[in-house]
Amino acid sequence: MTEISTNTYTADYILAKALDIGENILRCGGEPNRIEDTITRICMAYGAEFADIFALPSLIIADIRLKDGTHSSQVRRVYQNSNNMYLLEKMNNLSRDVCSKKVALEDVENEIEVAKKGRPFPNILCYIGGILGAGGFAVFFGGNLYDALVAAVAGIVVTFFNLHKTAFVNQMIHSVVSSFVGAVVSLTLVYFGVGQNTDMILIGVIMLLIPGLAFGNAVRDLLFGDTVSGIIQLVQAILTAVMVAFGFTVAMMIFGGVFN
């Protein structure tokens, strides 16, 4: 029914644009099977007959064939960023608009640029997120209000490190450094007598640092049949947890008095 419009694009062009959208969804925290689904839908909407897409947390492999027999295969390496639900939602809407031809393929690049520049709120508000997250969990795991206060201060520091993630060599070093500094800040405050329950404070801080739902996501991917991406995420999550543990351990050794 849309023969005229689809014939004007080459297979390479369609796939490149679909991959642009898929790459950005993967980068801001979308699941690999969502990316496979999105790219397949876009390609199918623009006249692809077959679309074989395989997505990993760091790579997308795609091959499509149009009805006229021309085909295209492309590979995209994806460097992961942090969870950004705002961008995820924008990209999701964009892919839906592209599928229903509300947005032309030529405009995809512009739309992505606009979405990347957009912010739901200023970055400074992320510190409030860190305060609420760390402080809330300190109370959630059984601390009192003073513990929450200490955890909130450490939460500000950890959020600062999270916002400047790109300054670090890689994710692992970032985890070690930020957990070390977060633990040092909270242990120092405890040393000066602000909070009482070191355990609760440190758990509050650790919640900001451990890879959120990565464990649960990995298990879900494994159970859903995406074995490879599940294993990759699982290993990443375990490694990050070990690195966070390492940073905390070093800090605790320096403050040796914590364990009698």
Binding site: G29, G30, R34, R41, M44, A45, N83, N84, M85, Y86, L88, E89, N92, R119, P120, F121, L125, C126, I128, G129, G130, I131, L132, G133, A134, G135, G136, F137, A138, V139, F140, F141, G142, T159, N162, D199, L202, I203, I206, M207, L208, I210, G212, L213, F215, G216, N217, A218, V219, R220, L222, L223, F224, A241, A245, F248, T249, M252, M253, F259
Partner: protein, 155 residues
């Protein structure tokens, strides 16, 4: 329910809001995410109190309820369900046991270290199981819808 549990639930909702901000949800989605977090906490503590002491069952039911409500939020807010699921589930993440495992490693209590590590893994599997159950239900509901509208409108 004791006062203690109510305070914990409130703290859980506050941290959910915090994480919703960290994950950069749009302001208009944050209340829905907070309700999702509230459901996670309430189901979790109610299960622990009335159904079973076992962490596995409590976490699985809680993540099932959270993921289910995230799907509802996705319909209300017209956004992908992950947006509500990620902050909603955060209160269930086994950070406490992970910390305890690490702390026991440090004080050379290896038995307790292994036990806490296994609990962490068990809870992670429970959360994943709850989420996957909702995914499967959604998959079949979508299939049912697709069959009904087959040929009328493109996917």
């Amino acid at each position: 329910m004791s006062m203690d549990v109510i305070i914990k639930i409130i703290a859980g909702v506050i941290s959910t809001i915090g994480f919703a901000i960290i994950f950069r949800l749009r302001i208009k989605h944050i209340p829905l995410a907070a309700i999702d977090g509230l459901i996670a906490c309430v189901v979790y503590f109610v299960c622990l109190e009335f159904i079973s002491e076992d962490l596995f069952i409590a976490n699985m039911l809680a993540s099932f309820a959270t993921a289910g409500f995230a799907e509802v939020c996705a319909r209300i807010g017209k956004a992908p369900s992950t947006i509500f699921l990620l902050p909603g589930c955060i209160a269930l993440v086994p950070g406490g046991t992970l910390y305890q495992a690490m702390r026991n490693l440090l004080i050379k209590d290896y038995d307790e270290f292994g036990a806490q590590l296994l609990i962490t893994g068990k809870v992670a599997i429970a959360i994943g199981g709850g989420i996957i159950a909702v995914s499967i239900i959604r998959y079949f509901l979508n299939k049912l819808n697709d069959n009904k509208t087959n040929g009328k409108e493109p996917a």
